[in-house]
């Protein structure tokens, strides 16, 4: 039997990699993709704990997280398309209109 803490370790590593990618990528689309990576890490954690607790609530929560992730991707990518139309760039260093 695979121990629960192994799943949680994999999930923690994935989440930290998502954080690193979110902090360092220049491209806004890749930043959104890193958010998806973090959401997947959390989903793995929830499914594993739910399986080992012999309860199904965690998996129901994963179902809702996937729905919210789909909504988030649609809105975020819509924002990026609008941004590209106005600024002609999707890189973070070009978004300096608040700099004065």
């Amino acid at each position: 039997m695979v121990h629960l803490s192994w799943y949680m370790t994999v999930s923690a590593i994935l989440f930290s990699m998502g954080i690193f990618g979110f902090l360092t990528r220049r491209n806004l689309i890749m930043m959104l993709l890193c958010i998806e990576l973090m959401l997947n890490a959390i989903n793995l954690n929830l499914v594993a704990i739910s399986h080992y607790m012999e309860d199904i609530r965690g998996q129901v929560l994963v179902f809702f997280i996937i729905a919210v992730a789909a909504a988030e991707a649609a809105i975020g990518l819509g924002l990026i398309v609008t941004l590209f139309r106005n600024v002609k760039s999707v890189h973070t260093e070009d978004l300096t209109s608040l700099k004065g």
Binding site: M17, A73, L77, T92
Partner: protein
């Protein structure tokens, strides 16, 4: 066998995640993410969550990543390939903070204790099938969050349309 599958999935998932966050070309990053999502579905199968594995493949691989690919074709990604994927300042700081966060998580994992067991034992879920078990919970105990999720998706559809629509006259664009 389960050990073997677990180690295969974890090594592949972590390796693919590394490829995603360092991919120079965003299209390659998105396609690597596709393989990663399939392996996450494999994890769910290992954990007896067949319905979630199917939802993962249908929603993430089928819908969300296709959306990402379409948007990548709409924007200009040539300069990314030339100048590199990372920001110029603060990469070391980001590595430090994510490693510290990982250590904090691992400490949490070490001290984690499981709560009391629920009613859905593995044998019971296998007997009534996973889809039926999760459907029963969603449509009885969690009916209100289910409706709210539907509303969120409706707002996302309308918002996505309104955001991506070209402005024609009227306001300044």
């Amino acid at each position: 066998m389960v050990y073997l599958l677990f180690f295969y999935f974890s090594i592949v998932v972590i390796g693919l995640a590394y490829k995603v966050i360092t991919a120079r070309n965003p299209v390659h990053g998105v396609l690597t993410m596709l393989a990663l999502f399939f392996h996450m579905a494999g994890f769910y199968l290992l954990l007896n969550a067949e319905f979630l594995a199917a939802v993962q493949i249908i929603v993430y691989c089928g819908a969300i990543l296709v959306l990402y690919l379409f948007v990548l074709f709409l924007v200009d990604i040539k300069s990314e390939v030339k100048t590199g994927p990372f920001i110029k300042k603060g990469v070391k700081l980001a590595i430090l903070s994510s490693v510290l966060l990982l250590l904090a998580f691992l400490r949490g994992v070490k001290n984690f204790t499981l709560g009391p067991h629920g009613h859905f034992t593995i044998a019971r879920v296998k007997e009534m099938t996973h889809t039926k078990a999760i459907g029963q919970e969603v449509f009885t105990t969690y009916i209100l969050p289910f409706e709210i999720a539907g509303l969120i998706l409706l707002v996302a559809v309308i918002g996505g349309l309104a955001l991506a629509k070209k402005e024609t006259g009227g306001e300044e664009g």
